[in-house]
Symmetry: C2
Subunit: 353 residues, 2 copies
């Protein structure tokens, strides 16, 4: 299943999914929709309207990153078996990143793999987590520690699901969009700067362009390196720092977007120290993050704790820390020569008492 | 990782593994060896002697099919992280089928996949479970319910590990070998009949030929159909029945080999009822199984219980039971038209009060 090309359908409508599926999935096929209560209330009826030709079963699990674990995988498996889902069946993830990752890992492993569809309903999921075929669950020792590369049949993206998205969740997606702009699309960065107010007001045409461009960056990088052997590591911009931060804080009191935002700020700081970017560019990055209400500073942890946590990141190769840094706005590179002193310095600049 | 060709090294020596690995795995690489106490006592020293150029960490878990679950995966993951295993690391499964399946599923999912080597030490693992790239854990609702297709870098098969194998474990491998003979190699079947005594005495040259031919059947079928879409289902000969039996008995009081043996006997019965094979061929199959001390009858379960359990087998497509039956000794085919009456009749013939 890994490695096949798949469509990312933008501006699709939930209720039209059946028209798309009928080409590849036989009528009567069992479809297990994995979602969460709140999302079900908002969207399940519309999705189900598009799946009338299939045998559909809905299963939900409680919201929260802490649900993305092997216990929940075990419980969802029990429900899939109770439904009678067999190898010809299909699993649909209806929701945000947690739903996509968990339902995707279920699809990757259930009976050694069944067909899988992503229906992302948050900005983060639409611009980032549903793209690229990575699925996983967390483990006490690390986020996304157990997972697979398991591309979906398709990603079905209905922008209208974003209308009801709480602002804090939109910020998670905006942080990733800013990351995409910094590492791969200068024009997207300019666009974000120019339309801050329109984006905050969620003007439809502006969001469409923003989301499409953000997805395009991720698609380009993932298609060059599906299995994360090289260039895909660039998507980790801000995340070595962000993951360390989330981990140090025990994944409470900080959203993923906030972690990434502070991570982007820290990466810009190091890049400037090393002379890769100018102070003016660092300022633009910090300002854009702040414009969307995203933090560039943190308190409640020490730089020492954060440095320690960075050592455990799974993206390190051969024991050396791989740090992604911007080399200008619109381009990033991987560096293996960042010293602990440099990292400490970067952390000191973002940690406030 | 899926789909790459990999060598199956026969008559290899445990202590020579390093010579093979040095071509693909850099010196100093972290290698996590997953095994069980009893196997470690017998073979770990020899294996470790071949891995002196690497950083080796041994982790063990208790013997028993009941250990092959998500809880054990979680615990092994904790140990892998404590060792500091990163994406460049390698996992070696040293042991029988349970070790290979569990360590393989860990390798398939740890950090979304690390390199993996099979070092099978039982006849069952050497002729069957280490070949074909299938890895999995059990779930209360079904055996091997969560897993992956994840071919190893290589299978390193040292026949000398079979010298110490308890006879009951050898029988598990003999049942699969008889299955391979029935479904794909008439000459192997003749060979097994001819050399029953020598096989029971474990004469080296006879075992070598038996194992090599048994592996060859599996390799041929798997290479035609790696993801189990078609012909690979033939390997399920005897297993639809065997799994139902093991499940009905709660996986206690019956070995996998005994389940397969009774399953082969039942499949032969149906094939004869349907006129695919002659009574003489059924007799040869039953006799060969019995010659190796394998059962062709069972008590303690009812035919009704067994039929019910067959409905839950994950290899069923679109709700229809796919039953593999011999059409002569040396050839099997998949049938979708077996009625419940026929299956009941077959069960009635093998169940004794």
């Amino acid at each position: 299943m890994a490695g096949h090309p798949y469509p990312i359908c933008l501006d699709a409508k939930l209720e039209d999914i059946g028209k798309h599926l009928q080409r590849t999935i036989q009528p009567g096929t069992q479809i297990l929709v994995v979602s969460q209560e709140k999302i079900v209330e908002l969207y399940f009826q519309r999705l189900a309207a598009g799946l009338r030709e299939y045998q559909v079963q809905l299963v939900t699990f409680p919201a929260g990153e802490e649900e993305k674990n092997l216990n929940r995988l075990q419980a969802l498996t029990t429900e899939a078996v109770a439904f009678g889902l067999n190898r010809e069946g299909v699993i649909i993830a209806l929701g945000g990143g947690v739903v996509g990752d968990l339902a995707g890992f279920l699809a990757a492993t259930y009976m050694r793999g069944v067909r899988f569809l992503q229906v992302p309903t948050t900005l983060l999921a639409q611009v980032d987590s549903s793209i690229g075929g990575k699925v996983a669950v967390n483990h006490p020792a690390g986020k996304n520690l157990l997972g697979a590369f398991y591309p979906p049949l398709a990603v079905w993206t209905d922008f209208s699901t974003l209308d009801t998205l709480p602002w804090e969740e939109a910020q998670n997606g905006l942080a990733e969009t800013i990351k995409h702009a910094i590492l791969g699309d200068q024009e997207l960065f300019d666009f974000l700067e120019k339309y801050v107010e329109q984006i905050k007001k969620r003007e439809g045409s502006i969001w469409r362009e923003m989301i499409s461009r953000s997805i395009a960056v991720k698609v380009r990088i993932v298609s060059e390196d599906e299995k994360e052997k090289g260039t895909r590591a660039l998507l980790n911009l801000g995340h070595s720092f962000g993951h360390a931060l989330e981990s140090a804080m025990g994944y409470t009191g900080i959203t993923h977007g906030q972690g990434v935002s502070i991570g982007l700020a820290a990466a810009a700081n190091i890049a400037q120290q090393r002379g890769h970017i100018k102070s003016q560019e660092t300022q633009r990055i910090h300002t854009l993050l702040r414009d969307f209400g995203l933090p560039v500073n943190i308190s409640g942890v020490t730089p020492e704790q954060l440095l320690l946590k960075m050592g455990a990141d799974k993206k390190n190769r051969e024991g050396k820390k791989v740090i992604i840094l911007p080399v200008r706005i619109g381009r990033a590179m991987a560096f293996r020569d960042c010293s602990d002193d440099e990292l400490m310095q970067a952390w000191r600049e973002v940690v406030v008492c």
